[in-house]
Structures are given as structure tokens and as C-alpha cells.
């Protein structure tokens, strides 16, 4: 796998303790099988784990006890949901503010419709882009159809990186903006109702 780490950029090398990105592999690509039969037990399993796993020696046993099924079944179903993309991954997610990514810009771009698929994929491959989507415009008020989350240790770095996106989009893009988050107002993650 090629090293896409942007911290090889000259502008970054004089900084210590600047967080970096690892090589890019997308999570659970959208093309994965959609034919998983989601059962009531799976639903219960989602509800039991969506707030997070218990920090105990045998977390899957604790969940199994709650649901009245075996630990093996919990593990089997979690693996199965992972395989088919219902679960993107089972992992720890750092709060990016707390680990040095102070500047997080939602960059939005007005990209020619006939080129957005191709260009969207390219933007998504940039190492500092964590999410990249096509979304509908709300004209005339909102003309942007491509969204890319760009992370950096400070705004100047986000702007530098947005410039790389701009160059990549070229003439296909007529306007763009960077929307910085100034506050997390809520962060609970997705929740199914119990």
C-alpha cells in the first residue's frame, strides 16, 4: 500500500506532536452485500451495544446474558453484521478535538453534475478527507453538491488542504466554502429506540 501520509508535506515537518493520518482504506464499502436478513435478535443486539461495549473481561458474555443467548451467538452475529456492512467496524473512536485535530472543516463544493462521480471519488481518496459525499443543492440559497470533511491541527492547515481539493477539482468547480465547527452541540451516535 502506498504511503499517502500527508505529513510528508514540507509545511508539516517542522512540527512535532502533530497528529497524522494512516493509510486509507474505506470502511465497509457501499457495494457490499445488502441481502442480510436482519432479525429481532440482531435488533436487540444493536440496542444492547449501540451505547458501547461494557468494559469487562468478557463483554460479549455480558451482552449475551442480557439478551438470553449464548456468547458464541453474540460473537457470530456481530461478525456476520460486520461482513455485510450493517456494522462498519467494532472499534474505539477518538474525539478528534481531544487528540490534536483542533480544526475540522466541512468543505463544500459546487461541482459540475456530469463530473461529480469521478471527481468525488478522487477527493475521497485524499488522505486528510474522512467523509466525502454528494448531496442535493438547495438553489438558489445553497449551490454546493460535494461535501468533504477535512481535518487539520489548525485552520491554516485545513485551508492548505482545501487548496489541494480545489486544484484537483479544477474548472469543474465554480465555488466553494469551508464551514468550521465551533461547538459540538450533541454527540450520541445513532440510536435505535428500545
Amino acid at each position: 500500500m502506498s504511503d499517502l501520509d500527508l505529513n510528508s508535506n514540507p509545511s508539516d515537518t517542522n512540527k512535532t506532536d502533530v497528529p497524522s493520518f494512516s493509510q486509507k482504506t474505506p470502511e465497509a464499502p457501499a457495494e457490499k452485500a445488502k441481502d442480510y436478513i436482519f432479525t429481532q435478535i440482531d435488533r436487540d443486539l444493536v440496542i444492547a451495544t449501540q451505547e458501547g461495549l461494557p468494559i469487562v473481561e468478557r463483554p460479549y458474555q455480558v451482552i449475551a446474558d442480557q439478551l438470553g443467548i449464548s456468547e458464541d451467538e453474540v460473537m457470530f452475529r456481530l461478525e456476520k453484521m460486520k461482513d455485510c456492512g450493517v456494522i462498519r467496524r467494532i472499534a474505539g473512536v477518538p474525539n478528534h478535538y481531544r487528540i490534536g485535530f483542533k480544526a475540522n472543516g466541512m468543505t463544500v463544493w459546487n461541482v459540475a453534475d456530469d463530473q461529480i462521480k469521478e471527481l468525488g471519488r478522487k477527493v475521497g481518496q485524499l488522505p486528510f478527507v474522512s467523509h466525502c459525499y454528494q448531496r442535493p443543492r438547495h438553489q438558489p440559497y445553497w449551490n454546493y453538491n460535494l461535501f468533504a470533511m477535512v481535518h487539520g491541527s489548525e485552520r491554516a492547515q485545513v485551508e492548505e488542504r482545501a487548496q489541494l481539493v480545489k486544484e484537483l477539482l479544477g474548472n469543474a468547480c465554480t465555488e466553494h466554502e469551508i464551514l468550521y465547527s465551533s461547538k459540538i452541540l450533541k454527540k450520541t451516535g445513532l440510536r435505535l429506540a428500545n
Partner: protein, 147 residues
């Protein structure tokens, strides 16, 4: 946060084992005691270094609805509208952003139709228009932060 904590955060982003003793598996990789790993993960969560620990679900694959929505809220109403919007259990996260559209949130609903219904109720309660921006195409979702 010491060096081991940093390595642990890196390791946990790669995935948590689905085995009977997952903390033990990680402890063995690090040459630590299982109880030490558990204690560290708990502290990372308590301190807010880790915001989540567990399965990340893909709402659409659960048969539900998911969208990004935005509102343009007057400064004098902002605090009140934050409360009103956050009170909806369908709001998964909500960010204040520096823009005319100054409130951006993700809605997740049990059914695809639930999105429109939630937006209508939200507009009625807040008195503000909600701009619905569902994803039409996903080009990339990921990112691992190296500490």
C-alpha cells in the same frame, strides 16, 4: 495520556477483537495485564479521549433513514433551538458551524419515511426551515487518526 495510551488509541481504531477475552488479546499484543488495558480504556472513555467504544452501525443497512440537515438560526434564538433540536432522539449529532447555516445535525430514524416526518415536526416546533441534505452518493467514509 502516556505513550501506551496513545498506542492503545491507535490500536483500538483498527478494530476490537470479537473473542471471548478481547481485552486479554490486546493485553498480550502490548505485553500488559488484561486489567491494565481495561482500566486504560475506561479512563480514555471517562476523559473523553475516546468518544465511542463498540460497534459502529450503518443506519441505512438497518433499514432506517439517515440524513444531514441544516438550519439558519438567529443568534437570539440559538440556545432555545439547540435545546429543541437536541431533544429529538432522532438527532444523532449536532454541530454549531460558522456560517449562515449555523446548525448542522445528523438525523437517524427507524424508517426512511421517518426523516420527512421528523423534519416537519422540527420545523413546527422551532419555527425554522430545515434544509434536508441526504447523501446521494458515498465516495468515502473512514479515517484513522495516528497518535
Amino acid at each position: 495520556m502516556d505513550n501506551i495510551d496513545k498506542q492503545l488509541v491507535n490500536r483500538l481504531q483498527d478494530g476490537f477483537p470479537v473473542t471471548e477475552r478481547p481485552f486479554l488479546a490486546i493485553a498480550e499484543e502490548f505485553g500488559l495485564e488484561e486489567s491494565d488495558v481495561m482500566q486504560r480504556v475506561q479512563t480514555l472513555l471517562d476523559d473523553g479521549i475516546l468518544s465511542r467504544f463498540g460497534p459502529m452501525f450503518q443506519a441505512e443497512r438497518l433499514g432506517g433513514g439517515l440524513t444531514l440537515a441544516a438550519m439558519k438560526v438567529a443568534p437570539e434564538d440559538y440556545e432555545k433551538v439547540v435545546e429543541q433540536v437536541n431533544a429529538f432522539p432522532e438527532v444523532a449529532h449536532n454541530y454549531q458551524r460558522e456560517h449562515e447555516l449555523n446548525m448542522w445535525f445528523v438525523l437517524a430514524t427507524e424508517t426512511p419515511e421517518g426523516i420527512e416526518d421528523t423534519i416537519q415536526r422540527m420545523e413546527a416546533i422551532t419555527g425554522y426551515q430545515v434544509y434536508n441534505m441526504p447523501k446521494q452518493e458515498e465516495f468515502y467514509v473512514g479515517l484513522r487518526f495516528e497518535l
